[in-house]
């Protein structure tokens, strides 16, 4: 097919799609307009009309955002997107929708003078529109938290884990942070990939918290027990930041493990919460500052074979 005939075919499909939308045949319109966008994703008008016949508001939002990515000045898309977002927001009230567009059938806000999705003449240009790829987030959200463990904290943790290992006769004990990063390990871990174990344990506890939420449990499930034939595994939160994994022989009474775990959580909590000494924090900042980023970049280039 020559470029000219392809363009003609796309134009014909687009016109047929718009005609189907105008007569209210949304399913047919979607089918035709999708054929247009799959052959030429830069067809702004096709995305706009697709938004008008979209099955869901989320789909309409996506199509309008694509139209805006193609042409940020497209006022119909701007207005349509604002309207769709207002409907998707939890504050949106169903009572505001009182009629539908005679052309595309989209619900219309009570005060709309034209269809926000396919209307011929929008009433005003958007002035506070989010960029297409942007996201309307909260005004201020804290940046990703970093977690710093000082030498003193690490030594206190080691001493605590030694004590737990001795008292519980645990096969091994692992302390990790909630993102799955290994902090300390004690016991028989030689043949165990403790880093992977930490990642899996963190994922599992996170899933357990979500399970608690889904079943309507207000408090988080704080403990998780896996019973095996030879070994059992206990997982528990330690405050908001850390998780503790204890692997023990099935011959060890579970009641004892629970008691020791409870004690361990009580001991570890205050260690984690105490702020690192200012001198150590300064030392960390000095290490990470200056040329650290450049040196890391160089090391990455060497280590990643490129």
């Amino acid at each position: 097919m020559t470029p000219d005939s392809t363009a003609q075919k796309i134009t014909a499909l687009l016109q047929a799609g718009i005609a189907a939308a105008r007569r209210g045949d949304k399913a047919r319109a979607r089918q035709l307009l999708r054929q247009v966008t799959e052959q030429d994703p830069t067809q702004e008008l096709a995305w706009l009309w697709l938004a008008g016949v979209a099955k869901t508001l989320q789909d309409a939002q996506t199509y309008l955002e694509i139209a805006l990515a193609l042409n940020p000045d497209n006022q119909q898309a701007q207005e349509g997107l604002r309207w769709v977002q207002s409907q998707l927001s939890p504050k949106a009230s169903a009572a505001e929708v009182t009629r539908t567009c005679p052309l595309c059938g989209h619900p219309l806000p009570a005060d709309a003078s034209s269809c926000p999705v396919c209307g011929q003449a929008p009433t005003s240009a958007a002035t506070d529109q989010e960029t297409p790829g942007g996201e309307a987030g909260p005004a201020e959200v804290a940046p990703a938290p970093g977690f710093f463990l000082s030498v003193e904290q690490a030594e206190a943790i080691d001493a605590c884990l030694d004590r737990i290992a001795y008292e519980s006769e645990a096969r091994c004990i692992i302390l990790a942070d909630i993102t799955g990063q290994l902090i300390a390990e004690r016991g028989q871990t030689d043949r165990m990939n403790t880093q992977v174990l930490s990642a899996l344990a963190a994922g599992e506890l996170a899933a357990t918290h979500e399970l608690a939420r889904l079943v309507g449990e207000e408090a988080r499930f704080k403990l998780l027990l896996h019973e095996g034939q030879q070994h059992s595994v206990y997982l528990s939160d330690v405050g908001e930041q850390l998780i503790l994994v204890i692997v023990f022989d099935v011959s060890t009474p579970i009641g004892l493990v629970r008691m020791i775990l409870k004690k361990a959580v009580a001991e570890l909590g205050p260690i984690i919460r105490q702020p690192g000494p200012p001198a150590a924090t300064k030392q960390v900042n000095e290490t990470l500052g200056g040329d650290f980023a450049q040196l890391l970049e160089t090391e990455l280039n060497v280590s990643l074979n490129t």
Binding site: E38, T131, F148, V151, V196, G203, L296
Partner: protein, 195 residues
């Protein structure tokens, strides 16, 4: 970011996010297969019988010491299938940086956008600001036919011009390491700004 000063370790978590079948696991597989055993750990995949990621893939990379500090990068993928939205949010928890792997095929354009939007929503729900999260966009599968033009993808995903984007063919490794390095560099630059 987690710093263990006693062990002199710097840990970063990088999450590969994107719609189903966009090539997130393929990125990690290529990184695993093309780094020396001294640098890489075991690649762990929690997947279904159909070989689809059910929870996450995990790979740790460990570099030599820099100014006395050993960097460790924990790379995760999220499960792309629509069904696993809750799992995706869990994996994003604690991320220091994100690689968004978009599928360049025209037929997947809307899926990419919906996945990207959902990622932002998850970050907000986790108390993280998507605008401050170091993020690199990878336009994958550039070797296939019927592709969305890079210009359109860039206009949507990198609208402010400061988000790094890479064209890639993850199955062949094209753009894979470049994407990862760019994300790590963004994370470090952000950490330095916060000092």
């Amino acid at each position: 970011m987690f710093i263990n000063w006693k062990l002199r370790e710097l840990n970063l978590k990088i999450v590969y996010y994107g719609p189903a079948m966009s090539g997130k696991t393929t990125n990690l597989q290529f990184i695993h297969d093309h780094t020396s055993p001294q640098v890489r750990g075991e690649l762990v995949s929690l997947k279904t019988r159909e070989d689809r990621t059910i929870f996450f893939d995990f790979l740790q990379l460990e570099l030599g010491q820099i100014k006395g500090l050993k960097p460790k990068f924990n790379l995760y993928t999220v499960p792309g299938q629509v069904l696993y939205a809750a799992s995706r949010k869990l994996v994003l928890q604690g991320a220091d940086g994100v690689v968004f792997v978009a599928d360049s095929q025209i037929s997947r354009l809307a899926d990419n956008i919906q996945s990207y939007r959902a990622m932002h929503q998850h970050l907000i729900e986790l108390g993280l600001d998507p605008r401050r999260m170091p993020c690199v966009i990878q336009f994958n599968k550039r070797d296939l036919s019927a592709l969305t033009p890079v210009s359109l993808l860039t206009r949507y995903f990198a609208v402010n011009g400061s988000t790094p984007t890479f064209e890639s063919i993850a199955t062949q490794g094209v753009g894979v390491f470049e994407t990862l390095k760019a994300c790590i560099n963004l994370v470090m630059a952000q950490a330095q700004r916060q000092l």
